[in-house]
Symmetry: C2
Subunit: 143 residues, 2 copies
Amino acid sequence: MNDRFETLAQQLRDDGHKLTQPRAAILHALLQTATPLSPAEIQERGQTYCADLGLVTVYRTLELLEGMQIVRAVHVADNCHGYALSTPGHTHHLVCERCHAVVEIEGCGLGEFLDSLAARTGYQITGHWLEISGLCANCQRNN
Amino acid sequence: MNDRFETLAQQLRDDGHKLTQPRAAILHALLQTATPLSPAEIQERGQTYCADLGLVTVYRTLELLEGMQIVRAVHVADNCHGYALSTPGHTHHLVCERCHAVVEIEGCGLGEFLDSLAARTGYQITGHWLEISGLCANCQRNN
DNA sequence: TCTCGTATTGAAAACGTTTTTCAGTTATAG
DNA sequence: CTATAACTGAAAAACGTTTTCAATACGAGA
């Protein structure tokens, strides 16, 4: 966890940016979550590390981190954007509709499909976003 | 085109809703586009058919149509929600990052993968969201 | 065809999220 | 330690969306 933070911090410096307390707080908040967070949630959690972290700074920092591909914006149902650290590998999420528990999934068996799609449409495919919803074992029992 | 409109109009009536001029205008606007439109765009185009179509009405009508599964909300890069007529069946979207052209895709070859996922995680899978991004043929050329 | 009740409408205002502005502060190179 | 440019928070502006409310238009029934 701490290694991961140091790596990100270094990445910032290497890119010519300062590692400020607000930014460190935001990174810590993001490192501690598995599910995407809204800017407001990030502010709230980040204030554990930097008491007067402003929402404006959260927006600016997310923009910066997104540009560096450290975070990615994902679509979430209600309030549209959440942010999560992009994981090195290729993962997707399986989310419980009831309790919002999240299972990370490696791979998706979509490779062949995407290849044929590229051939058929002439598009050069650069990425995809897959989110699967369902009921986790617990919530199935308590239905 | 006109058949399609009549079908939708009838669907509204069958569901106990009135076919008003604003609603007709919105349907016409949606029928004439291949790519998702934002509420503001729908208002703008709809005003060709109903001069004083209000934005509020666009929102309300989209909510109604979405509930009837006549339109569906899709995620678009910048301003998050666009609306397009949903085609019957199970479709996903392939969206150009540059010009936002949209190709509708039938099926996704995800069935087997989801089955094995359910077995592995104990989740009862109820749905999934897949959106693919890339560069369309045109934008590849003008890169 | 006309009348009437109700669903539906537009304007205004409220609301939440995101962006801009600006003066003060902080990280870091030297 | 100092200088300075990047960075910050607060306030206000600018969005997109929702709510409220009085006025209107649709369409069922006479």
